[in-house]
Symmetry: C2
DNA sequence: CTTGGAATGTCAACAAGGCTGACTTAAACT
DNA sequence: AGTTTAAGTCAGCCTTGTTGACATTCCAAG
């Protein structure tokens, strides 16, 4: 299926970055980097009764205040039962507020409370700090490349979601 | 703590890639890309009684045949109870072989069987195919940047582990 | 106005895959 | 001989995902 060899090709284009060894290094880099990526928030959350799922919910509610449950479901890619369990605890603990929709009263619009914003800041400050250091150490060209490859790795569905979020940003 | 603004600075260096908005996009790109990254193997594994944990074990046993349990534990960053549950099923199902060490008989050296290699290929072919497409679409410079940022995101411990693996490769 | 379907929520049961703690066995080191 | 190390095992717990069934509310089309 693959001879693992790719040196130079048509037009003198260098495709050495497509050898199996290079691909494997990319795969392993993804594995280790994702661990680093989640390490800081995980540490903060382990002290509480929360986990990564709570972090994700909080992140995207903060990102798009007033978002509906259904919308959040599509972004997170989990079942409503799974999300509901997380949301229920966050609402009970007073970190998230759920307001009945005005135009469509079936919908619930989600907002962070003051306490919710406080936790969101703690979590994303930690994660941003790591990202900032990595970005600074790597430099602007590397960051551009990083983003290009990550976008190419997404499914088309997720990529659309990501683009929509990106455009809605500040 | 952070005013979220970073335009240009000393030496005319452009630090626009360090704004909070840029960092958030990086964070969200990581989130969505990791889902894409694991999607194909997950699909294959969901038909069997295996999960992502089995995939990881198989990957690294294939990467470093004869590795000890302790070594695998350090790479994966889980408890031995957690890993043992996975290894036991893989050994029972005849995908992994565990050989008593020759110099130190306390150690067990792990190898993939023929069936193990077959599954490993199915899984990594799918993952590599996605990575290859992403790399090809993004181009060599982007790939270099991708790797640079990912390495900068790792904890120093993980980074050492990653480097060791990288150097041991082909 | 009624009925079908959509959005949401809830209950129950289950599985994967993390974790801690306690304990055993065998081998190696001191 | 005694301690440490590598590995394995048992029991129990947690988070977070799943499916399936079902209730409620409400919009919208017939």
């Amino acid at each position: 299926m693959d001879d693992g060899r790719a040196t130079t090709t048509r037009g003198g284009e260098n495709l050495l970055f497509l050898t199996d060894e290079q691909l494997r290094q990319g795969i392993e880099a993804m594995f280790f980097a994702y661990r680093g990526f989640t390490a800081d928030p995980d540490r903060i959350l382990s002290d509480m009764a929360y986990g990564r799922a709570h972090h994700r919910a909080i992140h995207f509610i903060n990102r798009a205040p007033g978002t509906t449950v259904n919308n959040l479901l599509n972004i997170l890619g989990v079942t409503k039962q799974s999300l509901n369990r997380v949301l229920r605890t966050l609402i009970e603990d007073g970190l998230v507020e759920s307001r009945v929709g005005t135009s469509d009263k079936r919908e619930r619009h989600l907002f962070l409370t003051e306490d919710g914003h406080a936790l969101e800041s703690r979590l994303s400050d930690a994660q941003r700090a790591r990202m900032r250091t990595a970005f600074r150490d790597a430099g602007p060209e590397a960051v551009a490349g990083f983003r290009t490859v990550l976008e190419a790795m997404m499914d088309t569905e997720m990529h659309r979601t990501y683009q929509r979020l990106k455009e809605s940003g500040a």
